[in-house]
Every structure is written in C-alpha cells, then in structure tokens.
C-alpha cells in the first residue's frame, strides 16, 4: 500500500515539475498519445491472447437447477443451457454485476455457530462507482467533440440537477469519490480483504482517486481556462495538437494521471473490462450433456477409440488373462481348417451343434 501510494505521489510530482519547467507539450500531447496507443494495442493484445487459450470443456459456474427433465424447472440465468440464456446471464453480469449481488458473508457467532448472511455493500458501491465513472467519461466527450452532441448536454443537465454552486456541482463527482473511498476502506478495514490486497489492488484505487481529486480541484477550486483546454483536446482528437494559452499545472497533473491509467490498464486487474466478456465461468452454456465438445488440442490423427473397439482389438488377450469381456470370443472354428482345408469345409455345414468338439480335437492334436 505504501509503495502504491508513493507511486501515485511520484506521478503527480513528475507532471507538476514537468509543467513548471515548460514540458507542456510532452505532458499535454506526447504522453496522452503514447498512453492511448498503449491502451488500445495492449487491450487488443490481451484479448487476442485470451482468445488463443483453448477452453476444452464447459466450466460455467452453475448456481441453479440445470436443464433436466421437462417437469424440473430450469434456472435459466444461473445455469444457462442455450446461447440466448447465456446472453441474458452476461447482460445482467455486465450491467448490474449480478454475481456481486449474490455475495455472502460468513460470520462466526457464539456457539460457535457459522452464519451466512447477504452482503450487498460491495455490489452497491461497485455499481455506484462504475456508473458514475461511465457518466464522467461521457461528460468529458464535450472536450473532444465540436459541436457537442445534445445527449452530452442532457447528461450534464441531469448530473447538475440540484444546481448547487457555480460551476454547478455534479452529483457523479460526489458519488465517485465516495465510492472509491468505500472501496479503499473496505480493503484496509476488513482483515480478510486486507490480507489478500497487494500493491496491484491499491495502486489503481489511489490513481483513480487522484484523478478524481485533481479533476474536482480543477473544476471547482483552481478553475482553468476550459476554452483553451478544449482547443488542445480537439487538436488531439483531430491529430493537429497545439497548446494555446496558459493552462495551469493542475491540468497537466490530471491528464498525466489519466495517461498513466490508460497505459497501465491493459496490464493490470483493470482488464476485467474486457475480461468479463471472456470469462468461461460466465460465458459458456452448461450443455455438456447435450452437445459433444471436442478438446481443441486433440491430435486429429488419433481417431476416437471406443471401449467396444478396444475390446474387439484385445479380446483374445483379455480372455487369455481371464479379464471379463462384454462379448465372448466367437466359437473357434478357425484353427481346424488350416491343416486340412478340405476336411473343414465338409465338416462345418454338416453338424453345427457338434462343432466345438470336432474342431478342438484336431487343433490339440497338432
């Protein structure tokens, strides 16, 4: 946690000093481009890399009644058996974090008695965090589009519905900071969660908090020349970047932290943005008993070998070693004809019932 914190402080210090010594162009243009390229490239690389890993059989986490006999009711979302049931499950997962909703907590009460209860806080704050983040990102589109589409104005209007202060306070800013704070406190206050938390868990939290904090400082407290900033961001979006006017360090700190987040994104836990779509425990239909799934790394030259075939191949040896077989050896007329072909031909059709006795005697004699 200490190192993650210091890393974010270092990022802030670097960009602050950078903007003071006149590296505006580096922090305002070069790093954002670089970070965006790393973000897109890294994201695609990670997804393709995941796509290359075979999933030899179906491993969905099932938490409901699977498809069975017609009169047993299937839990279609918790144990989907078809493509569209999986789509339903995925939509709920992606849009309302359904698996977090099912979180439980285990507590030991006097007795000692183990008690499971529902635990919805992580779900609630997780949802609040992600949706306010989404709205904040959408609002930022006003800096990258000219003219600004009407729907962004709508978002800004509803986000500032209470008209508190000037510039108008956005509710998402409060929710965002509150939710990040909760997600952080959860990690440090719950001993079990603290135990499994590493720098890779704290760093994104600190970084995202710092991005939110610098953004809020920039909008409500220091205030910056938004027109000059939009000229820069429009320049970035149209590949003709130029910095006009004096924008202020807080902006360069903010945008450098965002660049750091973008560049860090594909190589961190944040990749769950793409990963949620790729996770086989969610996106596979539980149809093992309906569809034959062939292991993709099977050697195509090795043909399937059923037990029946196997027994056919080795029946004699099995009988010899007194292993049980499903089909007995056929009655053995063969050894007889070899020494005396003529005799065999005449004997066979003559007496089918007494076949064995005469057949064996010549073989034994030899």
């Amino acid at each position: 946690m200490k190192h993650a914190f210091l890393a974010v402080i270092a990022l802030i210090a670097i960009s602050w000093i950078g903007s003071l010594v006149g590296l505006d162009y580096v922090f305002g243009v070069v790093f954002p481009y670089l970070a965006f390229a790393i973000f897109l490239g890294g994201f695609i690389y990670r997804i393709v890399n995941w796509g290359k890993s075979p999933v030899p059989f179906r491993i969905p986490t099932t938490s409901g009644q699977g498809k069975s006999l017609d009169w047993v009711r299937q839990d279609k979302l918790d144990c989907p058996a078809t493509f569209w049931q999986v789509v339903g499950r995925m939509l709920l997962e992606v849009f309302v974090f359904r698996s977090l909703f099912k979180n439980t907590k285990a507590e030991i009460h006097d007795g000692p008695k183990l008690v499971y209860g529902s635990s919805k806080w992580l779900w609630l704050f997780g949802l609040a965090f992600h949706y306010s983040f989404l709205l904040i990102i959408l609002r930022h589109l006003r800096l990258f589009l000219n003219p600004v589409p009407a729907f962004i104005g709508q978002i800004e209007f509803f986000d500032g519905l209470f008209q508190v202060g000037v510039p108008v306070l956005y509710q998402t800013d409060l929710v965002f900071v509150g939710a990040v704070t909760f997600l952080f406190l959860r990690r440090v206050l719950i001993p079990q969660v603290k135990y499994i938390s590493f720098a890779a868990d704290y760093f994104p939290l600190f970084l995202i908090f710092a991005i939110g904090a610098t953004g809020i400082l920039m909008r409500y407290f220091f205030r910056v020349d938004v027109v000059a900033i939009k000229q820069l961001t429009m320049g970035i979006a149209t590949f003709s970047p130029a910095i006009s006017g004096d924008i202020g360090s807080i902006f360069y700190i903010h945008i450098f932290l965002v660049s750091a987040l973008l560049a860090y994104f594909p190589f961190s836990k944040l990749m769950h943005l793409g990963g949620v779509f790729m996770s086989p425990t969610r996106n596979l239909a539980n149809n093992n008993r309906m569809v034959r799934h062939v292991n993709p790394w099977n050697d195509p030259n090795i043909k399937p070998h059923s037990y029946a075939d196997y027994e056919d191949e080795f029946r004699e040896f099995m009988v010899d070693t007194v292993l049980p077989v499903e089909k007995e050896l056929p009655p053995e007329p063969e050894p007889e004809p070899e020494p005396e072909p003529e005799a065999a031909e005449t004997e066979k059709p003559a007496e089918p019932a007494a076949e064995e006795a005469p057949a064996e005697t010549p073989a034994e004699k030899e």
Binding site: V48, K52, V148, D225, M234
Partner: protein, 125 residues
C-alpha cells in the same frame, strides 16, 4: 484463436467506441470561439486571464453579496461605476450576450441556468 466470430466483432466495436471522437470529427476541429470585444472600454473588472477561468466565481460572489449581505455597492472600472449584476453589470459592457457569453458556452457545452430568471437586456417578451 478460438471463437473469433465473437471476439473479432467485439474488438471492432470496442475500438470504434474508444476512437469515436477521432472518426466523428474527421480531422476537423471546428470553429474556435471568438468572444466579441466590448466597444468603448478597454478593461474588464479583473485580468483577462482571471476572467476567462473564474468569471462564474465573480458572479457567484456578487450574487451572495447582493442577495445575502445586501451589499449593493457598485464596482468601479476605470472610474465608471457598474452594478454588481448580471444584466446591469457584465452586460453593460459585453452588450451582446449571443456574440460574447454564448460564443464560449456553446463551444464548451455550458448552459448557465441563470437565464431561466435573468433576462438579457435586448431580449423582448
């Protein structure tokens, strides 16, 4: 790659969304706002730099001073007195709201709700 028929379209949608501003603008950054300079006066109530970043703060402070503290003492710029007021202050010099305030506000998608109640001098009912 396995399941390319789902993954490739998914990635295409992702990249399209992420680069939305790039292909929406098509390299055209659009017009830059040019707020009209007021005629006959040379100085604003504060430095241009401060006004560009913080004029809404000035208005907010004025509003509190006038309405909560009853302090209507006018401000002086170059010896001329102006009311601490939206329509009788700022707009005395910046006469044309459309060519001044709105120029920037449309560009940055800012819609001050002040005009729900305050009206612009030239506006007719």
């Amino acid at each position: 790659m396995y399941d390319a028929k789902y993954i490739i379209p998914g990635l295409i949608v992702f990249v399209a969304l992420m680069t939305f501003p790039i292909w929406k603008n098509m390299g055209n950054a659009g017009p830059v706002p040019k707020p009209e300079k007021p005629v006959g006066v040379t100085k604003c109530i504060d430095s241009v730099k401060y006004m560009r970043t913080s004029h809404m703060k000035v208005l907010d402070d004025w509003r509190d001073e006038v309405l909560r503290e009853g302090d209507r003492v006018p401000i002086e710029v170059n010896g001329v007195k102006y009311d601490k007021s939206l329509m009788n202050g700022c707009l005395k010099c910046h006469a044309d709201k459309k060519k001044f305030c709105d120029e920037c506000h449309v560009y940055t998608s800012v819609k001050p709700y002040c005009w729900d109640c305050h009206f612009v001098p030239k506006e007719t009912f």
